[in-house]
Symmetry: C2
Subunit: 124 residues, 2 copies
């Protein structure tokens, strides 16, 4: 399951990124989503054989790959790292990364102009 | 998604067959499980892109295959066709096929032995 397939789409209105990663039969507790050095979204996990496979279970076909998997996706500078959300449903992990609001336009700093000499005591 | 992976195992105690088929992100109503001519278990379904993909959605990666899929598995004569159960959970369809109980051992048919001549009137 090393390279489980992933879609990444960008929503037109908000510019949010939505990642969908196939991971059927994975226990959500076995999935980790993190943003690493350099703004790289990293999804790691592991799919395990059912624990109730006791002795004597005979596999007639065994096509589903088990084991660890990892997917990475570099996020843009504009990504709101603190607001990343991840949800697991029907075997698909959906990770939503919103765009940070654009920085406020810098207000021009108003420098008060002091009128030199005004209000000073006249003569010494 | 034409050849989505499948495991088939046989449970030691009951001899039941358990099939596990990966189908992440599939709507259960889009899956059909049936036993066809010749005792062939057939699983068909379709995975569709999310309906909320409106205009302007831009895919940066598109690795997850959509569309129809089909898997078949020939069942043994001993399979209890009427008791096949299917359950969809966490993107995996699990189909359980129990074994029919062995046919009752045939009771030997007791043929009554009539004693010829007994009880017949003596002489004509």
């Amino acid at each position: 399951m090393a390279n489980t397939p992933m879609d990444v789409k960008e929503l037109p209105a908000s510019g949010a990124l939505v990642l969908a990663v196939d991971m059927p039969g994975v226990v959500p507790a076995d999935v980790k989503v993190q943003v690493e050095e350099g703004n790289v979204l990293t999804i790691t996990g592991e799919r395990k054989r059912p624990a109730d496979d006791g002795d004597g279970v005979k596999y007639l076909r065994m096509e589903r790959r088990m084991g660890k998997f990892m997917r990475k996706f570099p996020l843009p500078e504009s990504a709101d790292i603190d607001g990343v959300r991840a949800e697991y449903k029907d075997g698909v992990l959906t990770v939503t990364v919103n765009k940070k609001p654009p920085p406020e336009p810098k207000k021009p700093r108003v420098v008060e102009v002091k009128v030199a000499g005004a209000g000073e005591p006249k003569g010494k």
